[in-house]
Symmetry: C2
Subunit: 566 residues, 2 copies
């Protein structure tokens, strides 16, 4: 068996980890200078926390964790008192009897109550009629009971049949070549078909791997609300898992780097997140990024103005494609979705939406003059844009983009997306404001805003632009060649001191051929090699070789330590 890993997952080598950490550490550093603090949540959550939060498609892509064998043994404690199919029949039978008794007692009570009333002669006729009704109900119950007992007999036989079937299996499969495996497939297939995948899954899995960091964060905020100081600024950099079809740049296990603030509606935060993106990308040398900004309220306002408020999603999905399919394409798609030609006519200004951010803001103000919500959105955009203009960015460009929609259902205010001009790869970051994230867990009126970095894409971009020079691989600085026991012991004394000073150093473990040991140093890109042979041991010194330049010279222990600590 050739070992492998599940599709869509990755091993990371030391070099890859060094590069990933280079990105992680810079993001982390900037998060912290902006006042964010880290939290971590478990890899798996209760299924109820995750399911239903990402739509049907998302639910399907969530990795569910199977309950353990113990769990199945105790699937249903009441039911499990009965050990096999036959006894399980009794379980039903007992239920029938119990339910029937309850119903009989109920009707008995009602009839006797009614009889009493009739005796008292107060409202005779109605009560007699009611008595008739109850008595016929009683008869119906009798009938149902008979039918059910009959059906119980069927169940009994059915159980017998299944038992026989299982007994036959061992005999049949020799001839039929139907093995347990196939039989198991049939049973599982029919279970999933009869009860539905969702229901069945719920039964055999109560935990699931986290699908993103946002829902676990919302759960965290609600669960720990009494320990949290609001506004709560948290960042989180952890793996998430999605059972998506793996593609280039799309994995089943990948990291998300999120920063969110909850508990404030301040527009200053919308300003700060633009600065934060700018700071991170500048720091990792990825200048020339474009931070696109939009506002949900502006999109709602436009939909309102053109009289297509009920078609907000269709409208924004189509508008989002403007740079791909052009004005005509967008028009056709909108028409197909039932947006009127008259409405689309009103969108004309957006199709040639050009100029500076200020010019765009002016156009939007004119266009949205009839929509209060729309104008609110414009005001918010203006606040962010003007303040960013005055504060200045280090390397990024902020661009108002009314076609930007992203997770529209989710965002209620600002919407961000970051792209780089240098590599064609889609967005390398995104986020926005959401007004009721924690509402799903019962904590209302907590507004939040957050952004995320697309680590894997940023990695690919830095790789392509050769921007990883500064990513340091934790390689030993010096390798001590192993010439035998005495020599090694001498080396370990020096190594001990080097390590105390934090200098990565190691002894080649075996007394192998010199060439093999030198190759090892080369392959691991260790810049210095120390040779302590018989002669050096006698002279109480060592030979230091620079692996890059090839030069070597003799020095004593103290000199060596001094040189290595430079």
């Amino acid at each position: 068996m050739k070992p492998s890993i599940p599709k869509g997952t990755r091993d990371f080598s030391p070099v890859e980890i060094a590069k990933r950490n280079y990105i992680f550490n810079h993001i982390k550093e900037v998060f912290e200078t902006f006042g964010f603090q880290p939290i971590e949540t478990p890899a798996f959550e209760n299924s109820s926390t995750l399911m239903g939060k990402y739509g049907d498609e998302g639910d399907r892509l969530i990795f569910k964790i199977l309950e353990s064998g113990e769990y199945f043994k105790s699937l249903d404690s009441e039911f499990n008192r009965y050990n096999d199919f036959h006894e399980q029949g009794f379980f039903f039978y007992e239920k029938i009897i119990k339910r029937a008794k309850e119903l009989f007692i109920m009707t008995e009570n009602i009839t006797s109550e009614i009889s009493e009333s009739i005796k008292e002669n107060r409202i005779k006729l109605e009560l007699q009629y009611e008595l008739q009704r109850v008595l016929s109900q009683k008869k119906y119950i009798s009938y149902r009971l008979d039918k059910t007992v009959e059906r119980y007999n069927f169940l009994d036989k059915y159980i017998e049949d299944i038992k026989r079937k299982f007994a036959d299996l061992a005999y049949d499969k020799v001839f039929l070549e139907v093995d347990n495996d196939e039989m198991l497939n049939i049973f599982l297939f029919n279970i999933y078909k009869s009860f539905g995948f969702k229901e069945t899954t719920k039964k055999i899995s109560e935990k699931a791997l986290r699908y993103d960091l946002t829902v676990p964060f919302a759960r965290y905020v609600v669960q720990h609300q009494n320990d949290i100081v609001f506004p709560f600024k948290r960042y989180q950099m952890q793996a998430v898992w999605r059972a998506d079809r793996p593609q280039k740049g799309r994995f089943r296990e990948f990291y998300q780097c999120d920063a969110d603030v909850v508990g404030s509606k301040s527009l200053w935060q919308e300003v700060e997140f633009v600065q934060l993106y700018d700071a991170v990308f500048t720091k990792i040398g990825l200048t020339d990024t474009v931070i696109k900004l939009n506002n949900r309220k502006v999109l709602s306002g436009i939909a309102e103005i053109i009289g297509a408020k009920d078609k907000l999603i269709d409208f924004t999905v189509a508008l989002d494609k403007l740079d791909k399919i052009g004005a005509e394409g967008v028009t056709n798609e909108m028409l197909a979705k039932g947006i009127t030609a008259e409405a689309i006519e009103k969108l004309q200004p957006l199709f040639g939406f050009n100029g500076s951010n200020d010019e765009k803001l002016a156009q939007l103000t004119t266009m949205l003059s009839g929509s209060e919500e729309g104008l609110n959105g414009v005001e918010e955009l203006k606040f962010v844009i003007e303040n960013i203009e005055k504060l200045g960015l280090q390397s990024a460009v902020l661009e108002l983009d009314v076609t930007l929609a992203r997770g529209l259902n989710y965002y209620t205010g600002a919407i961000y997306e970051v792209q780089t001009n240098k590599v064609k790869i889609g967005s390398i970051g995104g986020g926005g404001r959401y007004d009721d994230l924690t509402g799903i867990f019962g904590l209302k009126n907590i507004s939040g805003i957050g952004i995320s970095f697309g680590l894997d894409r940023i990695y690919l971009v830095l790789e392509e632009l050769n921007l990883f020079q500064k990513a340091e691989l934790p390689t030993p600085k010096v390798l001590f060649i192993n010439f035998g026991e005495k020599e090694s012991f001498y080396c370990l004394h020096i190594i001990k001191e080097l390590r105390k000073m934090g200098i990565n150093s190691e002894l080649y473990p075996d007394n192998s051929k010199l060439k093999k040991q030198m190759n090892y140093a080369n392959n691991r890109q260790i810049p210095f090699v120390v040779l302590v042979g018989e002669q050096e041991l006698k002279d109480n010194n060592c030979t230091l070789k620079n692996m890059k330049s090839g030069e070597q010279f003799t020095c004593n222990k103290d000199e060596l330590i001094r040189l290595m600590s430079k």
Copy 2:
């Protein structure tokens, strides 16, 4: 619904993360000075990689990941051409017919071959006998076919019954109060009972969360053997998951910190791992640790000497309890396990095994004089102990402990365990040499040695001993009070510069009451607060308040930046 997390898992707050990182970073730093490099592996592996590697108990504790709905829809492509139970009957029927035809053709062929041979009259008698045999076989096949078709009829009826049962369900459940959920339990329970949990699980789950870092590491080494420079020194600090019963200090999600070298049998590495433990624990202020050392070969040698080589496990398990149940308890347990009194008599020296490491080595040498393997073990122990004595340790004590066994089946040479004298908590680290870790994945003769740190226990120890002083929480150094839009804008200019210098700083997002903002600073333990009100704005300066001392004074922007960057 009150949100919660699965039992045995944890959320980590910023403070907890700071403390955990304090430990992680120190371990990492020492790993790297010793020449180890990081790798990372995916959270889940193919089940085949993990299952069967940890014994039956381990298999049970592995978290399995459920295949997706898509998978179940395509459970068996051949079988799934048939859409329901009835059609699945035909599937079997077709199989029967096909198999029967094959068998008939087979016997036809044999009989005609035999007939030909008889015609040729070469070996008449034997062939006639053979013909008889084949013909009776043919008759037997006819009989089996009849029986199976009969059984197919049963299957047909059985399928009909099941269909009826499912149709009845909807009707019955109103009266019976047997819901889908209960019915699903019954089906699942019976599937697991009929086909076994292991088989069923294998069918519905092909991936599993990693249970430790050692098996994924072995898989990594084999999978990437052509890219690896041997000896390969890797460290790995990642979460692992076990469906264990949660207890104090035992979690279902926890981190392991492992360092291993594979590809060398050098005893210098056994020396180095002692140094590594010493370096890490000294670094985090946990002095007074005891590094216990033993050797599997010594244990085997003792078992050999007392003539209980076949009872090595029983013998070591009992011996391991010496400090808990005393010599008498150990003797009784050994007797119960069938180790003779005569053999136990020979163990007497071990029951009072005292003195310095050198004295113990001397005693072992005497005791094991009859066992080559045992003496080898003593030699290895001697090498490690003597070199450590000569090189010296920073704070730990190395102690030879012949009762130490740990994962005995696994280790083949050195065995380590670390304890602290200051807190009663069991071992805080352990490891040893294994000679054929990668053999399970087909790469033979790769010797390895590795150790592990028990992060959660170390955390508890540092907490109890109050050794976390140096764990730095990434708190903002300075909070700017929000007095309104103009004032905030002024502050953001200063904040921008502070952040560029790497000074954590933030603006309170809302223009809330001063008291609320000051409380926020206190709660988040932010040491400095800057107030820029109307007056300061006019004077182009700000008021800096030291939250600890309470003192405050006015300064200009440059002074502020200078003070904060100290």
